[in-house]
């Protein structure tokens, strides 16, 4: 069964916007979705996979290289055909071993033929695509360290059995989790470009609409998909158009000034906040077909780009979302 269509997800606009923005500009660096159970976090991520436009890659290349020349040596790719394939969305299961993440020597070939060969891991498969971690706050520390390292360098290095393997590993990190079960380490938190909080809808009509669509999806799949596939296709077209418009998107000095002053007022650590905010605002402007980035785009992307980068204040119980909103109202009237 095909995944639930992205366009058919009821409400949760901030989460959907954040995901669309990363699809437009992967440099934004991923989305973290935190919230209650049964609010459609995993549904949205799985829907995103089906929504994303296909990428072009060399056939048989384990790291989805764009050009034959980019294929890593160890893969021995002889084919030079370029094929279109769905954007990879790779699930990183919680109990995963390091070997499966980074890749390791191919145990089967070593056993049966006595050969040394590298078996690519999840990081290789996720290159140029998405890496999805459900319940990211429960991930074991040593796997987190490894991911941080790779996310920083964009390259995966494996040294073992006298083999030295390296391959590009650039991926958009998508994480979801429930804050009740544990916090995320600040270093990992900072790696996510955008962060959104989802709540279970409080309005009864919205809830009924969710149930209605999901029920139709499960029990009347053909008709339901026919209805929504077209809308998903429209969304995909819009994403492609936005990608095209992105390089030419004008960013005035005023906008840069706004970004900097919002981050300064909030006291977010480092400069990654500014960069992400700017990229997200540009992507939003491109998505909406605006000619240049405006203050409104910044105002709308600031909460998701900054809320997870603030120092925690034990004496302010209102939460970071409220703090971002308060500062925004002051700095960008």
């Amino acid at each position: 069964m095909k995944p639930f269509p992205f366009a058919a997800i009821v409400g949760q606009d901030e989460m959907k916007t954040a995901m669309v923005l990363t699809a437009i500009d992967p440099k934004i660096g991923g989305v973290l979705v935190f919230g209650d159970r049964g609010t459609g976090k995993s549904t949205a991520v799985r829907a995103l996979a089906a929504l994303l436009p296909p990428i072009e890659a060399v056939r048989g290349c384990p790291v989805n290289s764009e050009r034959p020349g980019d294929c890593p040596e160890w893969a021995h790719v002889t084919d030079t055909t370029i094929i279109a394939r769905p954007t990879p969305v790779v699930d990183l299961p919680l109990g995963v071993t390091e070997d499966r993440v980074t890749g390791a020597l191919d145990i089967e070939r070593a056993l049966t033929r006595g050969e040394k060969a590298f078996e690519a891991g999840l990081l290789a498969r996720a290159n140029r695509g998405y890496l999805y971690i459900d319940e990211v706050n429960l991930l074991e520390d040593h796997i987190v360290d490894l991911l941080l390292d790779v996310a920083q360098s964009g390259e995966n290095v494996v040294e073992r059995e006298g083999l030295s393997i390296r391959h590009p590993a650039r991926f958009v990190l998508v994480g979801s989790g429930n804050p009740e079960e544990g916090e995320l380490r600040p270093q990992l938190l900072d790696r996510f470009g955008l962060s959104v909080e989802v709540k279970s809808p409080g309005d009864i009509e919205t809830r009924i609409e969710v149930i209605r669509r999901r029920d139709a999806y499960e029990n009347d799949n053909a008709a339901f998909m026919a209805e929504w596939t077209a809308q998903d296709a429209d969304l995909r077209t819009a994403i492609l158009a936005a990608r095209k418009a992105l390089p030419a998107m004008a960013t005035s000095n005023l906008v840069l000034h706004d970004c900097a002053s919002v981050c300064l007022a909030l006291g977010s650590d480092g400069l990654r906040g500014e960069l992400t905010l700017l990229r997200a605002a540009r992507a939003l402007a491109a998505f909406e077909g605006a000619a240049e980035v405006g203050r409104d785009h910044i105002r709308r992307t600031a909460p998701m780009a900054l809320r997870h980068r603030l120092r925690r204040d034990p004496l302010d119980e209102a939460g970071t979302t409220a703090r971002v909103a308060r500062q925004l109202a002051e700095v960008l009237p």
């Binding site: 159970r37 049964g38 299961p93 429930n178 279970s200 029920d215 004496l315």
Partner: protein, 519 residues
């Protein structure tokens, strides 16, 4: 149960299965013996029902993995047997949310149950019918409303209930979902998730809003021919044995915050003791011991490669490389510290101080048995003091308690600050701290010792929030003869459980504390 499910032949899982056992992998011993790759199938590689025993001990990683399987593989169904006692942790919430039906077998003896026989033919017929059952907007509507009335946030619940109602209709041989099916769905799927039951007299909270103008067709049918939502809520009430809600809620509460509240210290990785975890690559050293078997397993497959790689190595010997070395890991629980914050001010001293002392003493005796550490903060007059630094010494604690004077103002804020500092220090030394505050809640002395009621209250609230932000599990025992709303507000800010004990003696207090702390 086993026998009843026999025609479906469920595969058994237990909580400590590794990824290999679940997903399959290379069968190392056979591969080595036969010289060709032999794979073994995992438990989850084919469709069918799966039985998870001892589900209460299911680690989060497995719960999430099973949740993903349930989400993406409609062919696999899961039966989880939660054998937790009352105060134990139950099923991990990530998994509980995804499981549809709930049965409470509490108090049922084997002799009371008839043999379960699944009517195979009827099930097959029902399955065929299910495909043609049309979806029913009224059923969707009502199950969602009932779920909302029961305070169920997750949207999976009404979906699962809907599926249950449809299956029930198919089994009855009906071609549409009727109220009997909705009842079954509410009883089996929604009732146990309820966070609140609307009082029978009170109007349901969502009803006063204007009825939705869209979808009038569905609404009309509801009001004409079918029982109103209230009756379904009533069905939920009937399905719940008395006390179950409270029990489930207690379990939820225990789970919702740090594990310290559930009676055990925080889990931590340890190199030396505790339950074994899978071995990891690493360097042996003072705090790491080699796992010999895992190391040999790691090295075994590479021997053929290595004999080629190192042609001069002596024959017939195992070739180990540093990267093969696996070290042992264990998971154990950190020590627990119970910080008692006892109000010795004038207002309490008269009435309750003796009981509080007695209760603390009893708790101390018990803490000695459970090897907990205990600390005591008292507050009276213009400040708070750490009367007993974290200790396990019963004698010392008793002596300090006996000599505890009473009387004076209630510097609540100072007490909270002192407790927070003690807990933070303990945490740095690897202990999991829990606060238990015994007070009547009339804080009237500010941090600087001034008698300013308003400022004192404000400071107490701020510090309570800081305690909540630090993630310290806490408990407030209201010892006032007449409970006051201020203390409830303080408990809210602190994320603490509030227990009012207007007339308990020392033993009653101690029992309540033990129960609340889950021992």
């Amino acid at each position: 149960m086993q026998a009843g499910l026999a025609p479906l032949c469920p595969r058994r899982l237990h909580p400590f299965m590794g990824a290999e056992a679940l997903d399959g992998g290379l069968d190392l011993s056979r591969t080595l013996a036969e010289g060709r790759a032999v794979r073994h199938a995992g438990l989850l590689s084919r469709d069918g029902p799966v039985l998870l025993t001892m589900a209460e001990g299911c680690p989060p990683a497995l719960a999430v993995r099973l949740g993903q399987v349930l989400d993406t593989r409609p062919g696999i169904s899961l039966v989880a047997l939660d054998e937790a006692c009352d105060d134990d942790q139950g099923l991990p919430p990530a998994l509980a949310d995804r499981l549809g039906l709930f049965l409470d077998l509490d108090g049922l003896a084997m002799a009371d149950t008839a043999a379960i026989v699944l009517p195979g033919a009827a099930i097959a017929a029902a399955r065929a019918r299910l495909a043609h059952l049309r979806s029913d907007p009224a059923a969707q509507d009502r199950l969602t409303r009932v779920a909302a009335q029961l305070g169920i946030g997750s949207l999976r619940a009404p979906l699962l209930a809907l599926a249950c109602a449809r299956a029930s209709a198919a089994l009855r041989g009906a071609d549409a979902v009727q109220e009997a099916d909705l009842r079954v769905a509410v009883e089996l799927v929604l009732a146990h998730r309820a966070l609140r039951l609307p009082e029978p007299e009170a109007p349901p909270p969502e009803q006063p809003e204007t009825p939705p103008p869209q979808d009038t067709q569905g609404r009309d049918r509801t009001s004409d021919t079918e029982i109103p939502d209230d009756l379904l809520v009533e069905a939920a009430r009937a399905a719940l044995p008395p006390g179950l809600i409270a029990r489930l809620q207690a379990a939820r509460l225990a789970r919702s915050s740090a594990s310290a509240r559930s009676g055990a210290g925080a889990r931590r990785k340890s190199a030396r003791r505790g339950r074994p975890l899978p071995a990891r690559a690493g360097k042996p050293g003072a705090d790491a011991r080699i796992d010999v078997i895992a190391t040999l397993r790691q090295a075994a497959p590479w021997q053929r490669v290595r004999t080629r790689l190192f042609p001069h190595a002596p024959r017939g010997r195992l070739l180990l490389l540093p990267s093969d070395i696996r070290i042992r890991r264990h998971e154990d629980r950190s020590d627990r510290l119970l910080v008692f914050v006892v109000d010795a001010s004038g207002s309490t001293a008269v009435a309750r101080l003796a009981e509080a002392k007695g209760a603390v003493e009893l708790m101390l005796a018990e803490a000695y048995a459970t090897r907990d550490h205990v600390a005591l903060v008292t507050f009276r007059g213009i400040g708070a003091e750490l009367a007993l630094p974290p200790t396990r010494s019963l004698v010392q604690a008793k002596r300090r308690l006996a000599g505890l004077p009473g009387g004076g103002g209630t510097p609540l804020a100072a007490a909270l600050r002192c407790a927070l500092e003690t807990a933070a220090q303990a945490r740095r030394r690897g202990m999991a701290a829990t606060l238990a505050l015994l007070t009547d809640g009339r804080g009237n002395i500010a941090l600087d010792g001034g008698a300013d009621r308003a400022r004192a209250a404000e400071e107490a609230t701020t510090l309570a929030r800081a305690i909540a932000a630090a993630g310290l599990p806490s408990l407030i025992i209201d010892t006032a003869l007449r409970p006051r709303p201020q203390l409830a507000a303080l408990a809210g800010a602190m994320g603490a459980r509030l227990i009012a004990l207007p007339r308990a003696d020392a033993r009653g207090l101690s029992t309540t504390l033990s129960a609340a702390l889950g021992r």
